[in-house]
Symmetry: C2
Subunit: 212 residues, 2 copies
């Protein structure tokens, strides 16, 4: 992949002074534009924090004791994983929002890090949601073939709280799918399209040297 | 998001004839480049077909009958979902490889469709893998708190075949994570970076009109 060249030397031969003025005005407009983009990204990165913490807290306090016995989220691997992933997600969302809010020129290393971590976070949260959904499905329905009883008939409150937590986790999945899209966009727009001809995409000032 | 302008009118004022020759030569190079890119993408899209079919076939023939009873993949929702998703995955991989192989100019609608469907496919296969892993975990370990017995002690062959199918499904997940990255790259390189100044990025021939 080839990084793009910024052809801000455009028109430098014919009229240096007017071009400089244009550049200055555009620079100011670009800064405002960058500020708006930064604020939007920071807000989008803050959005998943609330559902992450909500899903985490609901699951963390999910336990039920009755005549059938006692059950807690910690008895089920998928629910423990869901709690951990939501904790990591809340921390990462806050950290990435702080980094995205910093007023500094965009760096390729940061774009790659955000792209990679957003993808990983999406996959982790989705896996937690899918595994927990499967446990809930088995807990509600049971499985006669392998003699697993329907646990939710014995522990209805536990199952309802777990369902709420899993549903909120899927809100986090949706938020992260969107954030992954945005970080892909921010990363790959810095590269040349694979089908674009490198010689054609060079600024005209360099191509003009061909004519002698 | 702004689509990029191809500044292939570069140098048109100073020397039209040499530029045309350069353009022709570059066009041929570009076509070869596009052909190579197309072949690579087609091959990458063909790769997941084998693991999809392998995971599907292994799971589809997974059943065991012994003194404890009879168990089949169809008794478990997660395994049925895994079979369906692997079938869809194999079909989509083949179809997308055929479309990617067609020698025609790249279209934005196709780039958006591939991007969207690759993401959806990754999420579907990952969810199937995660849910099935959770079932296997429960089947191997059991869960005393909710009185679920370890089914794998009664049906070891069933569990081993299911484990093999799930492991192969994660190969499909990895392939699709890579394909998602490639389709993101192919789509978003056609857009301007969010921080790039629109006036600066215009070809010099247009900026030159500013000077009068």
């Amino acid at each position: 992949m080839r990084e793009k060249e910024t052809n801000n030397n455009a028109g430098a031969i014919s009229s240096p002074t007017p071009m400089l003025q244009v550049h200055d005005r555009d620079q100011a407009a670009g800064d405002t534009n960058n500020g708006g983009m930064r604020t939007t990204e920071t807000l989008l990165r803050l959005i998943p924090i609330a559902p992450c913490i909500a899903a985490l807290v609901v699951m963390l306090h999910n336990s039920q004791t009755n005549d059938f016995g006692s059950v807690s989220y910690s008895h089920l691997g998928a629910f423990r994983y869901l709690v951990h992933v939501n904790g990591i997600c809340a921390g990462y969302s806050l950290l990435s929002a702080v980094i995205a809010a910093m007023p500094r020129p965009p760096k390729m290393s940061q774009a790659w890090t955000f792209f990679f971590l957003d993808q990983v976070m999406t996959y982790l949260v989705l896996a937690a949601g899918a595994a927990s959904t499967e446990v809930l499905y088995l807990a509600f329905k049971g499985n006669p073939a392998i003699t697993w009883s329907s646990a939710c008939s014995s522990f209805p409150t536990f199952c309802h709280k777990a369902t709420a937590s899993v549903a909120v986790t899927f809100v986090v999945v949706a938020s992260y799918a969107l954030l992954s899209l945005i970080s892909s966009y921010k990363l790959f727009t810095n590269y040349q399209p694979p089908t674009l001809n490198p010689a054609i995409s060079k600024p005209s000032i360099q191509v003009a040297t061909f004519h002698a």
